[in-house]
Amino acid sequence: MKVLVVDDQATNRAILTWLLEEDGHEICEAQDGQQAIDAYQEDDFDIVLMDVMMPIMDGLQATKKIKAIQADGNYVPIIFLTALDDDKALSQCLESGGDDFLSKPYNDAVLKAKIAAHMRIRELTQVITQKNQQLIEHNNRWQREQNIVAHIFNKALEHNLSECESLRSHIAPASTFNGDILLSAPSPAGGLYVFLGDFTGHGLGASIGTLPIAHSFDQLALRHLSVGEIAFEFNKMLSSMLPDYMFCCATILELNTLGDSVQVWMGGLPDAYLVAPDGSIRETICSQNMPLGVEHNEKFNKGFEVKQLNPGESVVFFTDGIIEAENPNGEFFEEERLLNCFAKGVKDPFSVILSQLEDFIQGAEQRDDISLVEVKSGPVVIKHNNQLSELKGYEGIYWQMNCDLGVEDIQRSNPVEEIMSVLGAQTLLRPNKDVIGLLLAELYSNALEHGLLDLSSDLKRSEDGFAEYYQLRQERIEALNDAQININCELLFEDETVLRIRLVDSGKGFEFENILDSDHEDSFGRGISLIRKVCKRVEYSNNGCTVEVDFPVSRAVVLD
């Protein structure tokens, strides 16, 4: 140990030096307060033994200054050795910042014991200071990392539909990171997908799982999977990723374009409610499945429920954070209070739940993430995303594809499939691949059957005629010679990106007006009505031998 001995009496210093060197300490001497401060600043000491009465600067003042220098957390004990023994003098010693005192004449053993005791305090302080430093560094690093992760989470959840009138939500995480996750995406058919998940626990640990879910949700929505299949995909992903004790309770819902029907898959979240326009619960939808990340793939049930939605109705669902919300007395909000928010005459149960919840909690600390979601009936209108994609527009190349089909091509097989294998590979067309395939097939059938084969739809009026029609079709195809169908597909921009499909057949034409007008319940005429529903322009010309349609590719197929 390095000891600074401060005393104006050379004898006193000599005695102390002799006494302490015996114990192996290294001693440095100062004759007054000023010398003590100078020495202290030049060297690192472990302990200071300070006389009180000294010329130039007394011990009290020197102590104050040394303690001021010490403020960096390096604790160097100062023990006063003083001839004064009145209470006032002693309290002055402590007030100046001294850590202990010993009256002269002192007992050697007591002095050594005090030094040893203070050394232990100094060591402890050093350890604490060191740990504090580590904690500060750790905390800084954690803050930095938290900022980075928060940024990533925000970005990941950003592509939620912010503006969709069918969807209303309230999300209140218990900490910076949310273990609840709400995602929404448009379906390729123009409907709306909503995913609400609650990972076990809350905070960062629970949030981690939300990232891959958020990431793949849009992709799954784009494939227009059923809610059951989306659940299956998520389950597969989570069970391979999460530790056994972690899983995700979830509700997945798809609202159709008209907003009069929902498909619901529920795994482990509290009951969802189908709410009538008068505010009462028309039907309770219960979870039928294990949470995501639990079940083995083979056992997973992709089944889901389909519920019709009448005008003014909605589906309200939530995570258990609401039921288990606590007030300052430690009471839970509970299902009963929640159910009381739905009653005949309640105009807006969603808002009522939120205000009831707030009144109940009375500012108590939130223990779990809280999410409340409402999906309303009525046609799905998505403002935000469409605008965004419209603004961005299609950035790929525009192209044209032309096929001249001769008799052999027509006889051999269905050329539509071959064309679709090319068109379907286009990222832009892929979401509507099924509809475009149908469109082409119907256009081709019309050109072939009415244009080239001169078959009349009237035949299909009777059931036997229906069969005869296709019988004749086959015979006439086989008998074809010198016929042609030209199929031209072009991706172009006209106010918006459209796929223009033109078919020209070498037949003698047909009365296309009849076909255009047909929209009845018969077993024929469905083809053209399908075409007209999905295209924004359908034009027959050239006596019915040419048909041209425009399919708006960037718009989802809008029904009615």
Binding site: D434, A441, L530
Partner: protein
């Protein structure tokens, strides 16, 4: 290729179609139910293995309904994949048949 199979269990007749559901299976499809008119059978069309439908399939389903003289929604269509459902919805078939 396309394939039509029939399975009768108690009073339920299930017609399963694998592959493409279009006029190529017209005869097979008709044969499944043509003898059943007026019976108390429950009819189910299983589309679990169906990859494609076109307007002739819609016509065939309507023919089936007319032939059996059944009410709207008396014939069940089950396991319809979303891509096919889209087409049924566009054609408003969701009002004519019961999708389960």
């Amino acid at each position: 290729m396309s394939n039509v199979s029939v399975n009768q269990q108690d009073s339920t007749l299930t017609v399963s179609i694998s592959g493409r559901f279009d006029f190529n299976i017209l005869q097979d499809f008709r044969d499944c139910y043509s003898e059943m008119a007026g019976s108390d059978m429950k009819f189910v069309v299983d589309l679990a293995q169906t990859e494609y439908i076109d307007s002739s399939a819609l016509g065939m389903l309507l023919n089936m309904k007319n032939h059996l003289g059944s009410d709207d929604c008396a014939i069940e269509i089950c396991n319809c994949q979303p891509n096919l459902m889209k087409i049924f919805t566009i054609a408003h078939f969701d009002k004519k048949f019961k999708f389960v």
